[in-house]
């Protein structure tokens, strides 16, 4: 499988990365080289093989459903580019 310019632009939008016409053209070539490289996986017979979900066979750890952390709103917003009274500020999303 290979990708064309339109697909690259669509994927870039899905990934929320702005691309120029020139970027998209360069990426088309690069992505096709990588997709060409991974194509060889199709030769592998995987019938009856389970997809891997965890490298170490282990039971999912669970913990008591109690509050162990919190009350640190100022820490959470400390690194944000724009805040107001412990809220993250973003451009208007609802008219």
């Amino acid at each position: 499988m290979s990708v064309d310019l339109q697909t690259v632009k669509r994927v870039a939008h899905l990934a929320r990365i702005a691309v120029s016409e020139e970027d998209a053209e360069r990426m088309t070539g690069e992505l096709n080289a990588i997709l060409g490289f991974v194509e060889q996986l199709n030769e592998v017979d995987v019938s009856g093989v389970e997809p891997m979900t965890s490298v170490t066979p282990m039971e999912m750890k669970k913990r008591q459903d109690v509050v162990t952390d919190g009350s640190k709103a100022t820490d959470i917003v400390a690194n944000a580019p724009a805040t107001d009274e412990n809220f993250f500020l973003v451009p208007k999303v609802v008219e």
């Binding site: 499988m1 490289f37 995987v46 750890k61």
Partner: protein, 521 residues
């Protein structure tokens, strides 16, 4: 003072405990070495002098009372991927501009609890994506090793010294260093360069496809990627969560064992951290390997591999045989599919993990006409080319209609790769010996690598299988090539059997010796 930087961790530990030296002295020695070398090598992206001095002072107070921890007063460098409270933590990306976490990663918390001193944050490939440390927003790291040429010069027999030696016939051989700058490998290039150039006693690193072992091999240092689940991933910037593991880069096998003992822990904050006590890895060093079964996988003999590497592999086999190990030929038939499967699984996980960098909660924000425009502009300006490439691949293989063909297929192949190893271990093999990399360190701005991303990816051909199967792997320096550059061998072990890796790597180290670059910086 500068010779204090040449002590291994075990030597420095003994001198600190014996009060022959102080933590303040060794810390000052490293800080001045960094000040001189860093403008050339670019291994550190930030140096935390004040913090280092404060920590050293606290260590000296503890050592004076005989209360020092396992790493009391030992100065370390920390890869920029580890969250360090109040200190530069950007995964060497522009998108995390100015990020100073309000928390400390579990691995670094463990190190400080054992008394280690933080010298600063080390350069790396952006988000740990790269094999040459050239994708860093902070520029490439330079390898302290350079190529050299052996010259034979006829000398009057009275003249000796300056690095050469006098032979019986009155001729002198001398290595002439080439000026070309080489990469230290990646993604933990800053860690490897700093350890090799004596800019820290040891360093933390991380490995998703080979990012500890490949740079260790390129710089003549020892690097171990432990079993998945051995070190907590909490507080480490995520790249590919099912593959990422932290581990140390050190100057010898014993130092790597000392560091891993402190870094590893059982951590309730990471659900993939495994509930097993951390053994005393150092105790495994020096144990005989007589009767141990060492597997040699035929699939690791690849086309175009330099003769030097094949010869080194044979040497490694001979050393282990001489030490009483039994050598057996083995087959890991799905080896060639590990790298293509990795380039689906890792970008898929990365595209999901890196979705959080949106200009809202931390780091860079580029204003836009609406929120989507702000996201797109922020991410376009904040991520470098390699990171964008991987996010794009990941987004594509996970997008509707392609998931089964790519991601599901790759995860099935991954099961087969792991099964190959399980079969070999079930047949009684204790450890597997392979080369660590398909070449020695290459030049900065190598044109072949720059023009073809897949060529760069091939650097991880021998290391990536280990991540795909979640196994432990160690790279240990084993010799120099014809151009005087270090080459490494890799040992792969059973899950959570890091002890066998240290034990066997030490046998290789005893036979091969340790390697130091000639100082030019």
């Amino acid at each position: 003072m500068s010779d204090l930087t040449h002590l291994t961790i075990s030597q420095a530990r003994a001198k600190l405990r014996g009060k022959e030296i102080t933590a303040a002295e060794i810390t000052e020695a490293y800080l001045s070495a960094i000040e001189r070398a860093n403008p050339v090598l670019n291994a550190y992206v930030t140096v935390t002098e004040d913090k280092a001095r404060d920590m050293a002072k606290a260590s000296d107070a503890k050592l004076a009372k005989g209360e020092g921890g396992a790493l009391e007063g030992i100065p370390l460098g920390i890869k920029d991927l580890f969250g360090t409270e109040g200190v530069h933590t950007q995964a060497c990306s522009h998108v995390l501009d100015g990020f100073r976490p309000r928390y400390e990663s579990t691995v670094t918390t463990n190190l400080w609890a054992d008394g280690a001193v933080m010298l600063g944050k080390l350069n790396m490939d952006e988000f740990a994506m790269g094999s040459s440390n050239e994708t860093s927003y902070y520029g490439p790291v330079i390898n302290p090793w350079r190529r050299s040429r052996l010259d034979t010069v006829v000398m009057p027999t009275t003249h000796q010294g300056d690095g050469g030696f006098v032979s019986a016939g009155g001729t002198r051989t001398a290595r002439t260093l080439d000026n070309a700058q080489l990469v230290p490998g990646g993604s933990s290039g800053g860690s490897a360069s700093a350890v090799s150039a004596f800019l820290c006693a040891g360093a933390t690193a991380t490995d998703t496809g080979g990012s500890i072992r490949q740079p260790a091999a390129f710089t003549g240092t020892v690097g171990i990627k432990p079993t998945y689940g051995r070190c907590s991933r909490w507080g480490i910037v995520a790249f590919a969560s099912s593959l990422d593991q932290a581990g140390p880069i050190a100057r010898d096998v014993r130092d790597a064992a000392i560091l891993l003992k402190s870094m590893a822990s059982v951590d309730p904050k990471d659900t993939t951290s495994v509930d097993r006590p951390v053994p005393d890895y150092e105790a495994a060093i020096g144990k005989p390997i007589k009767g141990m079964k060492v597997g040699i996988p035929k699939e690791y003999r690849v086309d175009g591999m330099p003769e030097d590497i094949e010869a080194l592999w044979q040497k490694g086999i001979a050393w282990l045989k001489d030490a009483g190990a039994e050598i057996v030929d083995i087959s890991l038939p799905h080896t060639k599919y590990a790298l293509p499967a990795y380039y689906i699984v890792a970008p898929a996980e990365a595209s999901s993990n890196l979705a959080r960098y949106d200009g809202v909660r931390y780091g860079l924000r580029v204003p836009g006409k609406d929120i989507i425009d702000m996201y797109e502009k922020t991410r376009a300006a904040g991520f470098g080319r390699e990171v964008k490439r991987r996010i794009m691949i990941g987004t594509y293989v996970l997008s509707a209609g392609y998931y089964d063909a790519y991601y599901l297929q790759a995860q099935k192949v991954r099961t087969l790769i792991k099964r190959d190893f399980e079969n070999v271990f079930a047949a009684g093999v204790d450890v597997i010996l392979t080369p660590a990399t398909p070449s020695a360190a290459f030049g900065v701005a190598d044109e072949d690598m720059a023009s073809d991303p897949v060529k760069m990816y091939l650097n991880d051909i021998f290391t990536v299988t280990v991540n795909m199967a979640g196994l432990p792997g160690i790279a240990v320096p084993a010799g120099l090539d014809a151009k005087g550059l270090p080459l490494g061998l890799q040992l792969i072990g059973r899950p959570f059997d890091e002890e066998t890796l240290f034990q066997t790597a030490h046998v290789i180290e005893q036979a091969a010796g340790t390697f130091q670059p000639e100082k030019w910086w």
